[in-house]
Symmetry: D2
Subunit: 468 residues, 4 copies
Amino acid sequence: MISKMTKKSHSNSLWGGRFSEPVDDFVQRFTASVSFDKRLYHHDIEGSIAHAHMLAEVGVLTPEEKNTICSGLQAIREEIEAGKFDWHVSLEDVHMNIESRLISLIGEVGKKLHTARSRNDQIATDIRLYLRDELDTLLQLKTDVLNALADLAEKHTDTIMPGYTHLQAAQPVTFGHHMMAWFEMLLRDRNRLLDCRARLNVMPLGSAALAGTTFPIDRKITARLLSFDGISENSLDAVSDRDFAIEFCAVASITISHMSRWAEELVLWSSTQFGFIDLPDRFCTGSSIMPQKKNPDVPELIRGKAGRITGNLVSMLTLMKSQPLAYNKDNQEDKEPLFDSIDTMKDVLCAMASMLPHVTPNKDKMYAAAQQGFGTATDLADYLVRKGLPFRDAHSIVGQAVACAIHENKALDQLTLAELQKFSAKIHQDVFDVLSLEGSVSARNHFGATAPEQVQLAITRGRERLQK
Amino acid sequence: MISKMTKKSHSNSLWGGRFSEPVDDFVQRFTASVSFDKRLYHHDIEGSIAHAHMLAEVGVLTPEEKNTICSGLQAIREEIEAGKFDWHVSLEDVHMNIESRLISLIGEVGKKLHTARSRNDQIATDIRLYLRDELDTLLQLKTDVLNALADLAEKHTDTIMPGYTHLQAAQPVTFGHHMMAWFEMLLRDRNRLLDCRARLNVMPLGSAALAGTTFPIDRKITARLLSFDGISENSLDAVSDRDFAIEFCAVASITISHMSRWAEELVLWSSTQFGFIDLPDRFCTGSSIMPQKKNPDVPELIRGKAGRITGNLVSMLTLMKSQPLAYNKDNQEDKEPLFDSIDTMKDVLCAMASMLPHVTPNKDKMYAAAQQGFGTATDLADYLVRKGLPFRDAHSIVGQAVACAIHENKALDQLTLAELQKFSAKIHQDVFDVLSLEGSVSARNHFGATAPEQVQLAITRGRERLQK
Amino acid sequence: MISKMTKKSHSNSLWGGRFSEPVDDFVQRFTASVSFDKRLYHHDIEGSIAHAHMLAEVGVLTPEEKNTICSGLQAIREEIEAGKFDWHVSLEDVHMNIESRLISLIGEVGKKLHTARSRNDQIATDIRLYLRDELDTLLQLKTDVLNALADLAEKHTDTIMPGYTHLQAAQPVTFGHHMMAWFEMLLRDRNRLLDCRARLNVMPLGSAALAGTTFPIDRKITARLLSFDGISENSLDAVSDRDFAIEFCAVASITISHMSRWAEELVLWSSTQFGFIDLPDRFCTGSSIMPQKKNPDVPELIRGKAGRITGNLVSMLTLMKSQPLAYNKDNQEDKEPLFDSIDTMKDVLCAMASMLPHVTPNKDKMYAAAQQGFGTATDLADYLVRKGLPFRDAHSIVGQAVACAIHENKALDQLTLAELQKFSAKIHQDVFDVLSLEGSVSARNHFGATAPEQVQLAITRGRERLQK
Amino acid sequence: MISKMTKKSHSNSLWGGRFSEPVDDFVQRFTASVSFDKRLYHHDIEGSIAHAHMLAEVGVLTPEEKNTICSGLQAIREEIEAGKFDWHVSLEDVHMNIESRLISLIGEVGKKLHTARSRNDQIATDIRLYLRDELDTLLQLKTDVLNALADLAEKHTDTIMPGYTHLQAAQPVTFGHHMMAWFEMLLRDRNRLLDCRARLNVMPLGSAALAGTTFPIDRKITARLLSFDGISENSLDAVSDRDFAIEFCAVASITISHMSRWAEELVLWSSTQFGFIDLPDRFCTGSSIMPQKKNPDVPELIRGKAGRITGNLVSMLTLMKSQPLAYNKDNQEDKEPLFDSIDTMKDVLCAMASMLPHVTPNKDKMYAAAQQGFGTATDLADYLVRKGLPFRDAHSIVGQAVACAIHENKALDQLTLAELQKFSAKIHQDVFDVLSLEGSVSARNHFGATAPEQVQLAITRGRERLQK
């Protein structure tokens, strides 16, 4: 059952000095990270080039050595991008693969690159550089989705639909207002991501293994070359903590929690029973057995992605729980959940940005649904309050009117004035204005409410806030 | 097995208008929230008073009505704080308990308070007010802990201990530097909390059930009275989202993840094998069977609290997953995990702030431990680099020297010059300076590194950053 | 900010021998567990009585000592149940509260009870005894729900509703069949609980602190008195592991995951758009602002409870992650999530068992919904296969027929024979038999399928399996 | 930012009949599962062959058709295993890739294979078959680890080490006893896996899309061919539930929680401070900067794997939360966490099974550590109880003796008889027998305790229980 322990013919040449026996193949594969950390190659090389520049500035490398190293690193980047680079599990990780190739490419001078650093600060730097780029992509994608939402809302500032609480029609709202609820959620998520970006954009390089280095490095040079806003204040912290990555996973979890809610609504709305929207065919798939099916696969998958992104967050939190300082090998496990949450968020946002412009609300069905369910009952209660009844009494009277209407199988505005007056003498002909959907919606005309005028203002403000 | 379904004699008087049969006792208890949401009474009343003021300003209440209502609410607050208030499960939640008492206390006018709002925006407001106060307490507690850390670090800028990676002694560091690693983690956590506070300090009140209200409310008045920085932009979003609470739970999870790491170290360090610190007796307990035991209960419990705080975060994320808009009853489940994470964080921070000033490092044991494990091997490699060897070659040579020293059962600086020179002719008498712990620590003298001078600078900067 | 450190006047009398300063009040509260572990009092006393009996059998206690102790313990139990027992936080936990009271009640002999045991094996035993009782309650509640499901299914073996995939009507099924899907899920959950019960019913008592005891105990006696099926094999394992509690939390998570699905369906079905069921008023509540609302609170809350139960599981797993053996104080944190999952599961099952008998399916609405959505398209494809077409070709043809019907705004069985024959000449008059809902449902007449006959057989088998 | 929407030239040929526009490339990739579900190919083909046999038995296929299909499927299996199979994302999943190839290989008759089934029951069957095989591998690996533990324990039934509670030395135990604590944990995990296997070995095939099929299938034939123990009772349940997969993920989480604890101990024990064990070099790696390091990478990684396995469980639970029946696209997300937990468990168990036989306890260091920390204090208390003192009084006296010994910087057995008698006149010369480590360990001589004799018996019983 157990993997065969074929001896490697030679031990790892970069750190194997004190080891008397080779790492066997299974252990090598089990402990290696190159299969997943090679995606950091670009940022690893970027970091190494900046490091070499700094070493030259402070006199640890000669200008020639620096140039040779940088040329070598650029050649390696080209090899990788051309698919011509041989990755070796026996070289453990992206760093040692690149360094080993550098030495084979440029000779002895390549052995000088790792001066004044360690893989511990190197990987911490790589992840931050990588994540920073990905955050910028995600921020752009969020902006795309936010713009799509504002555009969709703007087309429907006065499209009436039922507003739900408890999945029971509660009061009429506008479709535009509903879209702007999603907008608000995502705008906060975007701001969370900006906060996260600010916190991660601090350079750990120079922390070396855990305590700093004895070489006369100048970290500000490297930070400037790598566009970091700041430099880590403590070397032990810098190599051992991954809270920026957990923070990203948390922000992603909140975002996907929002998106699972939108997705649930898209699925509901595209059901036959609701029929509120049509999703374009290309966001749906069919059935292998039921020829009539048009399944809202894309929203369903988005809903399902909440699982993996929440799971990734838990993975990261569990991973870090009660690890003593500083770097432990456990931390190698930080990458896959992080990468997966990044990739998934990109896909989900891309899917939403592609789909939203093609969501077509079915106005008739939404209007008809809003007419069911006594959505203007609150308006009637408010009407009675304006006529002088305390709210609680008005609420109670309307409750009786609704019970009567249910019994009569009528909508509230289908009751006659005489019928309505049985519940309160304060009801007059003008009541029918407040019982209409349009009247109800327009009457909610204050900051943050659903009146078309307010929705348009909210869209305008939303677009401005997005610019900031 | 099933709870007896004794009929209540009367249905709920505040919303029971359309219901033909009473809610039975089990269901009443199952669906009621008053057992846990009554802790919001203070903020609920604060919100109601502000709401009444605003209603009076816009003419929905007369000044007299407003005054009567506010006096009644204040009387109720006093009743509650004096322990004289009767909470009724049959009144479901904190809001209806207070409103019902208000009506019994001041009569009909009490029925007017709920005009132009709903429990949906009321509870959303209460939670934000409550959490805002608790965040301020937590921010202060974090400041206390940060100050305790800076003070402890300052006493030990040159106290030498082994720095670990993989729980193997790696390089000597100073105890002050180690404490400042914790400081950095917590300072970021504090900044996360500040970001969270900024995002939550937005007022949902005025969103009513989900769509706003038909009354001519002025939300800016209420927001000003309640010291909110802003007003929610969308009523559907405002009553249905709880992302600010999830964000807090996430920040708490990151914080406790850090603290579980500190706690792990405190437990390790107070073990007989390490013996690096003494914890005062009052943070420890004894054993019911083993009279000699002195158990580090407080750090162990802090470590264990990582479980509940992470669990609370998962509860919140799971809760919100794929809920359609707007408010659903599910959301009632948002309070207990939130409250528990608040309470737990307060306890944990209080415990740390109390304990840290009394942590006494055992300098001798730490120094002796730093002497074991070849902690200055890197210094020897750096020495060889400065003598002209490429780092990788230096690394390899030192590996052989260490292997020899292990074989000889000596520390590196116990090898003779002659022995050392067997590994490289570049080694001279001056090597013994770099092989000492003090030499090693002092040589790491750049921004963020462990040299005593740098640690003192980091402490000074840390205190300044804390002021901001 | 930090709790005042008022000195206690005396240290804990049960283990304070070696301590030179008292535990302060905050630490006392922070480390004490009595506020939540006192609910174990009954099982703690049960365990102590059995322990005393065993000690007497093996000669460590005299019969008189044993009798005095057991009488004392019974008196304490009565005090507790009469609400006359003073719990002291200063006595930390349920064990020391009871032991201390025992000594005050019966004098010196009370000090002998703790011979040959430790709080470590005592609490491990208490939790197992407590959980065993609660599991038996939960098993009975699950049986109640299962019976309610079988009863409900039996009333509706031929009530037709749309079967959904992707929330799109797929094929007609019977309501009874749908209820039996829930039955199957819960029956597996019940079996998981039985497996869990078998694994937990092993006695840790006798493991003492971690290594066993030097007294000549006979653990089989105690196990027999406490109705344990077995005795733990390893003392270190017995005091430090809580996997039985995690297993329960996992089983509860799977169960609530099922129930959140049922609850989702109940919420959907009671929406206006679906209208498939009516929930009795007493499982619903109203709105404080919208008089017409009848909210399915009980299913919504059940759905929401998925959050806390999943969170509790994560708490437990996080708690145990990387704790070294044997008992650590962290483990004190095992109780609250466990208790909460137990309490929540009892409530949820009780709610379901109460509600299900009163769920009334609205046959007309379900039938009408099943007629929409081309639910018999698969039947048409199968028909064509029976006429000799390969399935894939049949599937494709029916897809075209459905597209045509959508275009014509007709159901499949509203197309004329001529229209149908345009898609395949193999279609004849008998096609209309397979296009009816009744025909479709009846035709799925094999083990596990939805034909009324099969559903009745499944109910009968289900009831038998439940007996086992 | 958004992926280019290059139109596919043709829509999916297997279900695209009713679709008017092609799925674009991004959506195709986003919704396709073939990149990860292709690993099910073997079991998919196995299931299809059994299905074809059954269809032939009941007359839906002719024997010739069946033979053609089965030969085609076997040819495809060979293509795949030879790496000659072209997987197409445009064909979505493993099922359609194989079916499409089958049709191209054997022509029209290939279109008949999908008769009387759906991808919904097909994938449910594939996962169960796949997981069943993997469970058998895991069971064998667990057996390997258990045997390794029993072997290691047997070599050390009388090797003394300190037993810890709260990471404080509590009482001496034997290394063999400690290993058998791990054994017990894993044996329970193995039994959980057996329970899980029994529950999953039930065949969903025949459930078709959700309601069964109109063809006269005989599910018992297929189940027998596929070695299933039973047939699912309800088609809706069978296609929509994944509780067997969640159960596996939960069992894996409990297992890795145990293993993270062992790993923590291995890391601790291989630290310089403890020095209790040596790990072979091949389970360790070195440092890129610190030549002297020998890092316990394998245990650290095992500890870290707790994160991903717990995360996978949370992913699955979140995924299923509140999904309505029956199959939804969300469920496509069930595979990656499941596969990852399987792969990770295999690796972790393989690593443990490889490593344990090579763990060498350092007897001298463990013995010396056991002598520190007053590990026989409980023995002294028990001694006093045997001399007639109540346990609580004895406990208190020993507490004072320990305080004195700490003050004198002596071990308990280094106090003179006269010194000891100051604490109790009942102490005599024979006390020194109970104060020795060997005496302490041997005296704990009952079922489940640490005496060498008992450990040997536990090993023997453990091996027998493993056979069952």
